[in-house]
Amino acid sequence: MSHAAAASSDHHYTSTGLNTFKLGFWTLIGSESLFFASLIATYMVYKGESVRGPFPSDVFNIPLTSVSTFVLLMSSLMMVLALAAVQRGDRKGSLLWLFMTALFGSIFLGFQAYEFTHFYHAGLTLGTNVFGSSFFILTGFHGAHVLIGVIWLLTLWVQALRGRLGPKDAITVEVAGLYWHFVDIVWIAIFTLVYLLE
C-alpha cells in the first residue's frame, strides 16, 4: 500500500506539535541528571574522608585537565555546527563537523585514559581508598557516556557518508546533539567540583 495512506487524519498527530523522539530524550536527560547527581554527591560526601593516600592533590594535574575540559567544550561547538550543516543539507559540512565532534570527543577520552593510567601508576586504584572509588566510578561512568556518544556520532557520520542524512533526518542529529551537550555539562560540573575545588 502506498504512503498516500498518510492521508489518514491521525498520522503523525501530536497533542503539542513537538517531536516525540526529542521529548522522550529530554525526559531521559532529566533522568540521567539524577544518576550523575548521585555520583557527584557521593564524591562530595567522601571528599577528605580517605584514610590513606594517594590523595587528590597528590595526583591531580589541573593544567592538563583544563586542556581536556577545553577540548570537550569545543566539541560541543562542533556539534552545533554539525547540526546546522545537516539542517541546511550541507553534506560536506555535515561530514566535517560530525567527524570533528567525534574526534574531539575521542581526544578527550585519550586525555582521560592518560590520566587514569598516571593515577594508577601513582598507586591509586578502585580499591585503594574512597577517593579512588568515588573518583574512578564517577569519571568512569562519564567517560563511558562520552564513548557511547562518539560511537553514536560515528554511526551518524556513516549515514551522512551514504547520503542518508539530509534535512529531514536532522531530528536524529539534534537528539544526538542533546546527548552530547548533556555529557559536556556533566563534565562542567565534575571539573569544577572534583578538580577545581581542590
Binding site: 503539542t16 539524577l34 560526601v45 567544550l73 560541543s76
Partner: protein, 83 residues
C-alpha cells in the same frame, strides 16, 4: 559567540583557582561560574531558550531534584553532624 564566552569563563575559573586571596570564597565563585557555563550550554547549544517550554519543564523538574540530592547529601554528611 557562545563558544568564546565559554572559553573565557573556563579560563577565569582556572585562574581563580590559583589566586590564594580568594580561597575562602573559592567554592562560591567557582560554582557560580560553572552554573553560568552550564546555563549557556543548556540555553543556547541545547536550544532550550528558544524551544517549547514543555522541554524546559521536562528537564528542569528532575534537574531541580538532582540539585536537592547533591545539596542534601553534602549537608547531611558534612554540615549537620558538626553543628
Amino acid at each position: 559567540m557562545v563558544a568564546v564566552v565559554l572559553t573565557i569563563i573556563t579560563a577565569a575559573e582556572v585562574a581563580v583557582a590559583y589566586v590564594p586571596a580568594l580561597r575562602p570564597v573559592l567554592a562560591y565563585i567557582l560554582i557560580t561560574l560553572s552554573a553560568a557555563k552550564f546555563s549557556l550550554v543548556v540555553m543556547y547549544y541545547m536550544h532550550l531558550k528558544f524551544d517549547s517550554r514543555i522541554f524546559s519543564g521536562v528537564f528542569l523538574a528532575p534537574f531541580s531534584l538532582a540539585l536537592v540530592v547533591v545539596v542534601a547529601m553534602v549537608l547531611l554528611f558534612k554540615l549537620i553532624p558538626f553543628i
